[in-house]
Amino acid sequence: MRTQRPFVAALLALSACAALAQAKPWSAIGRAATPAEIKAWDIDVRADFKGLPPGKGSVAQGELLWEAKCASCHGSFGESNEVFTPLVGGTTRADIERGRVASLTAAGVPHRTTLMKVSKVSTLWDYIHRAMPWNAPKSLSTDEVYAATAYLLSLADVVPADFTLSDKNIAEVQKRLPNRNGKVFGHDLWDVAGKGDVKNAACMAKCPVDGKVTSAFPDSEWGSNGNLADQNRLVGPLRGVVANGSK
């Protein structure tokens, strides 16, 4: 056996050379995913509803589920501002007709709720499915996700109280989302080769600015983010400002 070792070593060296001779000798690393693995993880639902599993859930079922699993954070009507920004509010029947939410340009609207902003119903379904409830994500059944989505939409009058949402009618519901026409693709900030939509010039002297201070941090608020004296190094040319009564 011992005498064969040089032969084996030579064979190994040959095969290593062969591997390096390939253009990309790493290309076979990894393994094929099984259909069950892909099914387990490929959960995204696209705007064209690719990936949406069949199922259904009613507003009434959703209301029960909501009270049990959603209301503690979002409020019984999706209105709560206690933990997260409200989901519901700020949309009208006129918005549903137009597909644009008027309150987005109004003054004095306290929040921009989820239903004021969202323009794809698939987004709601996908997110509830993947990430809700907050402390037990991915625990809802497919039908429960339909039900929770139906209840949420009913709170903004997108669907009536006796509605049952399903994979069959979700495309019709999309046509009633209040802000469905409210988005533009931000091309200039999507493309690294974009040029920017706001222009400045690199003026060096006698620049046309008046330099007036329009807004300044007030002395009374130094403690708003803790005592800055404790947030700066103890040596160097500066110290943190001492905030009396800091939080």
């Binding site: 969202v118 706001v198 060096m204 201070v213 941090f217």
Partner: protein
């Protein structure tokens, strides 16, 4: 040895933190600093320690400290070293009231305490959407699926065998400085600009993985990146980026990623807002449409004055900020200061940084001595002699595309004040006569 130049005053007379002295005492001490006898007075006349009189000189010199007279500690006292106990103030911090739950929140990087361009791993800003995890790397998997010839699974063992790259890039949250579109709201650079960090990342390029799986690149293509945590964060990545410089990374400044930053695997999308740098990366899907995920539909959309939201606004445009001195700090003295700051661009290298000490009426070009890397933080410095009068200082970066960092009013003229995201305005700091630095906005 009288010394009339305060900027040349050797040593430190006042006990830190000097900011705790009231203005009268501070000014008295500054005046006293100008003569040797004055120093003794400032110390308290006749103060002695260890037998040496303060009048003879600095007790820190005259009285040998313990560390000069005793035996220090041995090697590997701590297997993983930690900063000096005297550096305990330099920490990442939450902004009180910004969010209601710490699992869906932000901690801000202490930019005012950092040097150079690299963020220490323990001070990297955090943004979690549903809490962070310390994921077992042996159980972690990456799946590549969708429009590819072979849908594949990789273990960390597999990934870490692949040809790797190590590159330095900044990461900035799209909402960095977002609270100041309308007016000044925060006291210090940690909170105004601290959703910003810069590390050397090590990993395999996404283009390598897409090539290995035989990605179909005919026609419009998009990549979905998905995390393995509760939020299973999903973001659409432009195929142009994916094939260019996106990295599937496990390394961060020479060690593995920190759990708070996605251990054991995260996406690095240079130049693009942090939300796209999906942590705990478990899946890459190739598709023929953008995915309109929650963080592309409900958050990270920029509200324009006409009520339309801009969507898929990803690139972090050229920006800079002076970090020393900066808001909430107090200059200890007049005279010479090395003003220092950071500049960056999501579109490439920083070409130049100018600094103004008169609210933008005139500018001088700053020194850039360190590395200038594409889509990385760039450190700049400039000499300044403070005469004690109020000053508004600003920095303005220009990137290699020729884009000039805009003033806040120029941004508002196009985008209004309610977009939240992508505020890359020139930052103004006002130094008052007292030496206190205020966050301000100017016209």
């Amino acid at each position: 040895m009288p010394n009339d130049s305060p900027s040349a005053a050797p040593g430190r007379i006042l006990k830190a933190p000097e900011g705790q002295l009231d203005t009268a005492r501070l000014m008295a001490a500054r005046t006293a600093r100008r003569s040797f006898m004055g120093k003794a007075l400032a110390m308290g006349a006749g103060a002695t320690a260890g037998g040496a009189s303060a009048a003879d000189g600095d007790p820190a010199i005259l009285n040998l400290p313990e560390h000069s007279k005793g035996l220090g500690q041995g090697v590997a006292t701590t297997g993983y070293g930690a900063p000096s106990k005297y550096e305990a103030n330099v920490q990442r911090r939450e902004s009180p009231g910004l969010t209601r739950v710490p699992q869906a929140s932000v901690s801000f990087c202490p930019l005012q305490g950092l040097f150079g361009i690299i963020t220490p791993n323990g001070l990297h800003f955090e943004r979690h959407h549903q809490g962070w995890w310390d994921v077992d790397p042996e159980q972690h998997r990456l799946m590549v699926n969708g429009l590819v010839k072979q849908e594949r699974v990789f273990t960390m063992d597999d990934l870490m065998r692949l040809p790797s790259v190590s590159r330095i890039h900044f990461i900035e949250c799209g909402a960095n400085t977002g609270i100041e579109w309308n007016k000044v709201a925060l006291p210090s650079v940690q909170y105004t600009h601290g959703m910003l960090s810069c590390c050397e990342y090590t990993g395999v390029t996404l283009s390598t993985l897409l090539d290995m799986c035989g990605a179909d690149l005919k026609g419009q293509r998009y990549v979905l990146a998905e995390g393995a945590d509760g939020s299973s964060m999903t973001r659409t990545i432009a195929m142009k980026n994916a094939l260019d410089d996106v990295i599937v990374a496990w390394g961060m400044n020479g060690e593995m990623l920190r759990p708070e930053n996605g251990y054991p695997l995260r996406l690095v999308v240079p130049g693009v807002q942090g939300v796209s740098w999906v942590k705990y990366l478990r899946r890459i899907e190739v598709g023929d449409q953008p995915y309109f995920t929650k963080d592309e539909e409900v958050h990270y959309v920029d509200l324009m004055p006409d009520g339309l939201h801009r969507q898929f606004t990803s690139v972090q445009e050229c920006k800079s900020v002076i970090t020393t001195p900066s808001g909430g700090q107090k200059l200890l003295d007049r005279g010479y200061h090395n003003v220092s700051g950071l500049a960056w661009s999501g579109r490439g290298k920083v070409k130049r940084v100018d600094v103004s000490f008169n609210a933008g009426r005139s500018w001088r070009t700053a020194r850039i001595d360190g590395p200038v890397l594409s889509k990385a933080l760039t450190r700049f410095n400039i000499d300044w002699v403070w005469d004690g009068s109020p000053v508004v200082m600003q920095s303005r970066a220009i990137d290699e595309t020729g884009y000039v960092q805009p003033r806040i009013n120029q941004l508002r003229a196009v985008r209004g004040t309610r977009s939240i995201y992508h505020n890359n305005a020139i930052q103004s700091w006002r130094v008052a006569e007292s030496g206190t630095v205020y966050n301000v906005q100017t016209t």
